[in-house]
């Protein structure tokens, strides 16, 4: 369930990112942002659903998420949502939050368009609507983008290159042949691989985001390419299946594995050395940044125009890119040192 959720999340955000194109945060001239932030604003954080550990990490004070930022800024905070990640569950909550006099909403949209009549009405009444994790491109003031496709493609190749010392055969365990996001990421991987002439991508196999299929195709890779040095799997289902296959004395440490994964899924494999590093983004930072952006907007300290900039506490300075989007940054790399600090 959780894997599926996250895959969906990855898929949705990936799609949006693709739509936006790679160039988000440019070197646009920074506009002077006022430091006059209002306090006591009513900010509601509305994840796709409650009880989802990914969003708990993004939102709560303990993990340094949105609530931590809002507390520091002196705003009132509430995390509200439904139990299912559907518009039918999320909408009544959004409407109730608006009725409660919200100044800003921070939303992970359960659907890119279904929330629009409500969110547009909210914007019209002067509420700052910031989307994070999953965008609703036509009805928000600002989107906090966790990662770009190029960022994801690049980081995975760079991680693997370091682990195989820039040399040898590598393969990709993807989801399905026609998955747009996967193919976009793999496209960027191929570009990044040009930096490493001694590495060669011998094959892309497809596990269809199904554990059994992913396992079979990974085993197939191992027998077909006895000299294989590394595998990238940019899907949470694929990397978990591949890790299980490689988690034997025969392969551990000899074939490197990286990709997109959640910490909970990888803790075991990081501990026993099957996986050294993998990438995703830090949901707590995502929530933290979204909170700052929401307060800046609700305080009218910035607008959502490209080139506006603001400082998001410990995360530093951010500039609004095209299509009112702010990029969190490069994907976050998890390894032995930090993986146990995360619970999602």
């Amino acid at each position: 369930m959780r894997i599926k959720d996250l895959t969906r999340k990855l898929t949705i955000s990936g799609a949006i990112v693709c739509a936006l194109g790679a160039a988000t945060v440019g070197l646009a001239p920074a506009v002077q942002a006022s430091s006059m932030l209002k306090t006591g604003l009513k900010v509601f954080v509305i994840p796709k659903n409650l009880g989802n550990s990914y969003f708990t990490t993004a939102d709560s004070v303990g993990s340094g998420g949105a609530e931590a930022a809002l507390k520091a800024l002196g705003e009132t905070y509430a995390e509200t949502s439904g139990t299912d990640d559907t518009p039918a569950d999320q909408l009544p909550v959004i409407k109730a939050d608006i009725a409660k006099g919200a100044n800003a909403l921070i939303i992970s949209a359960t659907d890119p368009t279904a929330l629009c009549p409500t969110l547009n009405a909210a914007i019209k009444s002067g509420i700052a609507v910031v989307t994070y994790d999953s965008d609703a491109p036509t009805c928000r003031s600002m989107f906090i983008n966790q990662a770009t496709p190029q960022g994801i493609g690049d980081i995975e190749v760079d991680i693997l290159a370091a682990e195989v010392h820039d040399t040898g055969q590598i393969a990709v365990v993807s989801a399905s042949v026609d998955d747009t996001n996967q193919n976009t990421w793999i496209g960027y991987m191929k570009q990044e691989l040009k930096k490493y002439p001694k590495m060669s991508l011998v094959k892309v196999v497809y596990g269809n985001d199904d554990t059994a299929t992913s396992t079979t195709v990974t085993e197939g890779l191992l027998s077909e390419f006895p000299d294989l040095k590394g595998i990238i799997s940019p899907t949470t289902v694929g990397i978990a299946a591949a890790a299980a296959v490689l988690d034997t004395a025969k392969y551990r440490g000899k074939i490197q594995l990286t990709g997109l994964a959640t910490p909970d899924e990888m803790k075991k494999y990081v501990a026993d050395g099957t996986v050294q590093k993998f990438a995703l983004w830090n949901p707590a930072n995502l929530g933290f940044l979204a909170a700052y952006a929401a307060v800046e907007l609700a305080s009218h300290a910035i607008t959502n125009a490209a080139g506006q900039s603001f400082t998001a506490g410990k995360l530093g300075k951010f500039t609004v890119g095209s299509d009112a989007t702010v990029l969190l940054g490069q994907p976050y790399v998890f390894d032995k040192a930090n993986v146990n600090k995360f619970n999602f």
């Binding site: 409650l50 949502s81 279904a114």
Partner: protein, 376 residues
């Protein structure tokens, strides 16, 4: 979903067929012809007790409003009044045909799947380029047919409506899932989705709330002031007697189920536009709330008794509680406690007097035997 049904099932089980034995035993009054014992229990005249029940609901409603106002300063705001209707309008609307059907001694659990199927169909047809007015008419016709299908199974084949509509509850939901799968269709024209954001012109009420009010007037008139309504009561009170009185029991029941389907489809249309979302699981769980409201409204689960006023009051109590909890950040996951709790209240409270009397009698007996035998 399953457990909800299971939780209703035992309460509904003794449907009209045979009076629950404890009722026959505990009641000293000589029952008029073979009238279901439940009527005897709540009082021979029926209306007197019902009036008392409705007064109780008025008190409950006042208590709900007082609680809501003291819990949240936003309860009485215009935006919230709109939300109240938006989140409860469909359930309220569906309670109207459910009221008729339960008074007639049957039940229609499939209405929530009629809603879901309608929603899926709207999404599917819209995605396939149909014109919206045509879609709306199609869905309303289909809903009526789905309801009539229930009615035919119940009346022509003589199957129990509980079983039939549990079957179609699952069947229609399954078809909804086949039509739309896990897709969400949400690109409906703003002219339609406005009902999810804006109040009905010149009011603070949602379109669904206004439609509920209009329908409630119609349903109330039909139930209380027409031969058709009197026939519904007669059927629920005693089917055989109604039959001998020349009431066309089968036809009336079939019509009731068809109306239920029609209203289910209407609720599906409203919900789809309000949420701007066609989804195969839209409205899941609604039927529990609908049944809870109807029973809380004083409609007897054994048929033959109930009033529109009671059901309308129950709708308001339910909506008020639900909304108050939403405003106080009560975890959404726990919101199922409202219909569940109200259902229990609705079923338990009428028996309280009886339970107390029995308890007192048992106590008296124990004391009596205790004083005679000096304890055991």
């Amino acid at each position: 979903m399953e457990p909800e049904l299971l939780s209703i099932a035992p309460a509904v089980e003794p449907v009209t067929v045979a009076p629950p034995d404890q009722g026959a035993a505990g009641q000293g009054t000589t029952p008029a012809p073979p009238a279901p014992s439940e009527r005897g229990r709540r009082g021979g005249s029926g209306y007197g007790n019902l009036a008392r029940w409705e007064s109780g609901l008025v008190v409950a409603l006042i208590a709900t409003v007082v609680m809501a106002v003291s819990l949240s300063t936003h309860f009485m705001t215009r935006a919230n009044i709109l939300n109240l209707g938006l989140t409860n309008g469909e359930v309220a609307i569906m309670a109207l045909p459910m009221m008729l059907i339960i008074i007639a001694g049957e039940i229609d659990l499939s209405i929530q799947s009629t809603l879901a199927l309608s929603s899926s169909l709207i999404g599917y047809l819209w995605a396939h380029g149909w014109a919206m007015p045509v879609i709306i008419v199609t869905v309303l016709v289909l809903g009526t047919l789905l309801g009539a299908f229930n009615g035919v199974l119940v009346t022509r084949l003589g199957l129990p409506s509980l079983a039939v509509t549990i079957g179609t509850l699952t069947l229609y939901a399954g078809i909804a899932e086949i039509i739309l799968g896990s897709n969400i269709i949400s690109n409906f024209p703003a002219g339609y989705t406005t009902i999810g954001v804006n109040p009905f012109p010149h009011t603070d009420l949602s379109y669904s709330a206004v439609i509920f009010i209009l329908l409630a007037i119609v349903f109330g008139f039909v139930l209380h002031f027409t031969p058709f309504g009197r026939a519904i009561f007669a059927i629920g009170a005693n089917k055989e007697a109604a039959l001998y009185a020349g009431i066309r029991v089968k036809r009336i029941k079939t019509v009731l189920f068809a109306i239920s389907g029609l209203i289910g489809a209407l609720a599906g249309i409203l919900l789809t536009f309000e949420l701007s979302t066609a989804e195969s699981n839209n409205g899941s769980g609604f039927v529990l709330s609908v049944v809870a409201i109807v029973l809380l409204g004083g409609v007897s689960i054994f048929g033959g008794k109930g009033s529109l006023i009671g059901v309308v009051l129950a709708v308001l109590v339910f909506a008020g509680l639900q909304n108050a909890l939403l405003l106080t950040n009560f975890p959404e996951s726990a919101s199922g406690t409202i219909p569940g709790g109200l259902l229990l209240v609705a079923v338990l409270v009428p028996y309280m007097g009886e339970l107390l009397r029995r308890g007192r009698r048992a106590l008296a007996r124990r004391l009596a035997t205790g004083s005679q035998e000096g304890g055991r």
